[in-house]
Subunit: 213 residues, 2 copies
């Protein structure tokens, strides 16, 4: 059964390359699971059809036969059930992958996204600077000692963490964290990420062309 | 096999009743899975032993035989694998539970925790007020139409979401969201929550007594 990945048909230039359907595209490219892209008109994102699919008016959503899921983290867990390449089946290695996936969502991104959001309005001081530094320092200590977060190999936890860390302003702030900087570069060098990234850019560029007609 | 829930031996008054081991205590009380509490000296939380268990120097951690997990969200997923009471096994109902658990961690708590954290320093304006209102409004619209988040019954997604919403400052701000306020009250009225809450208070109070000797 071909998976369907829902994203917007178009977004402004700013978020291109960072819309979270990229996490699902990347996971599908890693695993070889067949998928297709379906689009919601950006202007219709707060309409009843899309809210029924994604109650926070966001993307992505994933359709797998009868099952539809929202939240990129939940979709990644669902895809991990479909492919051992994303998450090992062995009890200990699976638990490691799970804890690091959730750490990405709830210990790192809980700080990085609000930090980035507050930074958009260029305040003289970002009230989350200290908290961010403390979390990144802890993660730096972990990644100074190993190549991958979990299970001794690439997993969905790395896919998520690298997608979190690659946000432009954050990546530019990784100077004091050489292991994090090297890790991010290493994970993003995977062909599956590069394809997913280019495909997302192409998807939105095609919408520019269609809208110009 | 008896589960082991790791928490601190003692914390200051402020966080008592809110230390995240409560999520695991609550889940165990709901399911009847046998568990015991193990303590890390609060002063030793940044020491090498605890960092090996929890690299962000936080609690809880969960030990299940050979497997040890950190991140409350990951521990809840692990416990959900052990008990259908927390997460249905049926594909669609399971997917709903999963997406709402992750929504709690990555769409709601990603805003509520930084909002609360920034509020601690009583700034004239909290830069996350608008984002918080937008997320709570969307969640209000969902819970205005149903009793539980997922699968038509209590699940681990409700356990987590109610634990997120019950944070004092946040709960006090739920006036404009009557469905969220009623939902939080409804979920917290469960005997398993009340026992977990009291047990956590007692655990830290016992440490006060021990330290006074």
């Amino acid at each position: 059964m071909t998976l369907i990945l829902w994203t917007y048909d178009w977004v402004p230039q700013g978020p291109r390359g960072h819309v979270r359907d990229i996490r699902l595209r990347w996971a599908c490219e890693e695993t070889g699971l067949p998928y297709t892209i379906a689009s919601i008109r950006f202007e219709d994102r707060t309409g009843p059809d899309h809210l029924a699919r994604q109650p926070f008016a966001q993307v992505p959503a994933l359709q797998d036969g009868e099952i539809t899921l929202f939240e990129s983290g939940a979709c990644l867990l669902h895809l991990s059930d479909r492919s051992e390449h994303l998450m090992p089946r062995d009890g200990k290695a699976r638990a490691e992958t799970l804890e690091w996936l959730i750490a990405g969502l709830n210990s790192i991104e809980m700080v990085t996204v609000p930090w980035w959001f507050i930074g958009l309005s260029s305040p003289p001081e970002n009230p989350l600077d200290g908290w961010l530094a403390s979390r990144l320092s802890r993660l730096e200590a972990v990644l100074a000692g190993r190549e991958w977060l979990a299970a001794g190999r690439f997993t969905v936890a790395d896919l998520l963490m690298a997608d979190i860390l690659r946000v432009k302003k954050l990546r530019a702030a990784l100077g004091p964290y050489p292991a994090l900087a090297a890790y991010t570069t290493r994970v993003l060098d995977r062909p599956a990420f590069r394809k997913a990234y280019q495909d997302q850019l192409d998807h939105f560029a095609a919408a520019d062309a269609a809208r110009a007609n």
